[in-house]
Symmetry: C2
Subunit: 378 residues, 2 copies
């Protein structure tokens, strides 16, 4: 068998716009579609790497903004990089820091060269540029790193155009700044919900020779219809022979609709954040386990689920942990919620390989009680 | 091989006052000396039962006071009992609720029949009596249950005598109230730090026919010398042919000194509480991992430790988790601290079996930098 080249992307099966692919990274082959848990501060909140591995996670994301501020990327590099530091030996991805910095709103100032902002930790002034974002991400050492981009208000055309133009200039600067050969730098398409901008951005970004492409600036306030339509617009332009990553998106319905439109990689904090707020994500919708109705419920969260939490504990016990404010509640719900999304991505992949994605999507959305949103250009 | 009878206690080896024993419970044979992690509210804080099992825990304690108030012992019984509810399939022990109730100080009122107190959760008035404590513990269904006792100020002779007398009357009432055959009810010796009271209490309690005995009311403000001396006084009276449980005691030096004086079972919240306060317990003393000195320390907490945390993570990473206020810090430190005590109890057992407990105790205390306290009646 031929050894795949580093960062080689191959497609095993296609159905419509969807693909079942393999992306070869220095820390193993990534089977797509895939959902990546988010380990913001070099830890997926409340879970050990052993628990992450057991629930089936393959790709883990971490945040450049947070690690730059604390403990510092140079410290992480001294400790052997992010894989060694947090002891995740599978594929990893870091974002560029752009999204977090632009979320700071009142405490950051953008200029053509980069962004100056106030640290949320100690109020000190910090600066990120395309070049420094790459240096930081090279210090962190993830397998997939991201170009430094500007995420604008997706409903404002003028600002979206301005941010997109800057994102394109910065994308080239990131490519020029990159030194390590064992990291794949992905370019990010911006342009809000505007077809003209998204088309232009997808054309410019895909012309720069990145080994993979991301769709940024979605799931930040626009409607689901706008989000799905924008994914279609972008993926109609992005080349098929590179993986596509939809940043920060992660409800079950978004995974299904995204895969139907040709997305390969997803990440989101939602599963772990909802877990810390007592909410279970299931294939039949969300359950707030604090509800008194669960006080004596001997069922698992989802009788059809194969995660450790569902194989082991009743809803009654989970509710007790929540009411008693026990930390184990967040751990057990995080395991369940992440399993639900990781498993859904795996099932979407299996459906593509079996040539029955369309039927699978209909069934899965029906179970969720969510109407399928037709593609604009099917 | 003969099957041991339920709650049969056998001694494999003795050295001085110390014993390596086996106690047969409905959920498996307990090898002693043993250290029991405390799962106050039907969960050992921040750990899954799988993690508890992996770190070597065999006996787990839970608190009657807490479970009586929330979620209620009847709910736990409906859910199949505490083992099923929290999914711990090994031996379990519940205390009687006495210790917590008497800790409430200003909000409880003692009468000859029992105690009325204010719930710390909702301020409602609640009542515990010897009989109701047994009913609750039978609902919870642990393998070892405890007689309802009164824990007094250990330095006040008058109050200690009064509380001891009540404890003796209540011990008989607990024996009378007990119905389940698959639970071992242990009697508790009280009497503060006073030799006359402790001797009397050990005589009275051991005359009542309990299958095991506990030493209560220690590690609550008295000196180490007083605590160790009191253990000697009590164990000189308690019969050898029953297991002995020193309640709520759990530093490494207390385990060593306790085993040297013939204690078989220990429990304490200290390892998990210290873990939540950033402190690692090791065989060479405590480390506060928040200390800046550990920021770039690539060693594990204890290079000689075999726990998951020490096999996997650096001090630098643990310090980062603490500084970043990540929940995983508590989980990883709890695993390490519990492993340290569970393993120490196992090593004390091995030393007794090998006939070298005395030498082991000297070495272990020297490593801790703690002077061995000679026995008063060696």
């Amino acid at each position: 068998m031929r050894m795949p080249k580093m960062f080689e992307w191959s497609i095993q099966a296609e159905e419509g716009a969807s693909r079942a692919g393999e992306f070869n990274t220095p820390h193993g082959v990534l089977n797509t579609p895939v959902f990546a848990p988010v380990g913001t501060q070099a830890t997926v909140k409340s879970l050990t790497p052993a628990q992450l591995r057991e629930l089936g996670a393959t790709l883990v994301l971490s945040n450049t903004y947070h690690l730059f501020l604390r403990p510092g990327d140079e410290l992480v590099a001294q400790m052997g990089g992010l894989h060694a530091f947090m002891q995740w030996d599978g594929p990893m991805l870091t974002d560029s820091g752009g999204f977090q910095v632009f979320s700071l709103a009142d405490t950051r100032k953008i200029d053509p060269d980069g962004v100056t902002f106030k640290s949320h930790i100690d109020g000190s002034m910090k600066r990120l540029t395309p070049e420094s974002s790459i240096v930081i991400q090279e210090n962190l050492g993830a397998d997939i790193i991201m170009a430094f981009d500007e995420c604008a208000d997706p409903l404002n055309h003028d600002y979206s155009k301005e941010a997109m133009d800057r994102t394109h200039l910065w994308a080239k600067r990131c490519l020029d700044a990159k030194k390590r050969e064992d990291q794949a730098l992905f370019g990010i398409v911006q342009g809000g919900i505007f077809e003209d901008l998204r088309t232009e951005s997808a054309q410019v970004i895909s012309s720069l020779g990145f080994p993979g492409h991301a769709i940024g600036g979605l799931s930040v306030g626009e409607s689901k219809a706008d989000m799905y339509r924008t994914i279609e617009v972008v993926n109609a332009v992005l080349p098929k022979d590179k993986p596509r990553y939809l940043m920060g998106v992660g409800t079950p319905e978004d995974l299904i609709e995204g895969v139907l439109r040709g997305v390969d990689i997803f990440d989101c904090v939602l599963p772990t954040r909802l877990a810390r707020h007592n909410t279970a994500m299931t294939n039949f919708g969300r359950l707030n386990l604090m509800n008194a109705a669960f006080a004596r419920d001997e069922q698992p969260i989802d009788p059809a689920c194969g995660c450790y939490t569902c194989r082991t504990f009743t809803r009654a016990y989970l509710r007790h942990l929540i009411i008693a404010r026990e930390m184990l509640a967040a751990t057990l719900l995080s395991i369940h919620n992440l399993f639900t999304l990781v498993e859904l991505a795996r099932n979407l992949r299996s459906a593509i390989l079996a040539g029955r994605l369309n039927a699978f999507a209909d069934e899965a959305l029906a179970k969720l009680g969510i109407a399928r949103i037709p593609e604009v250009h099917p």
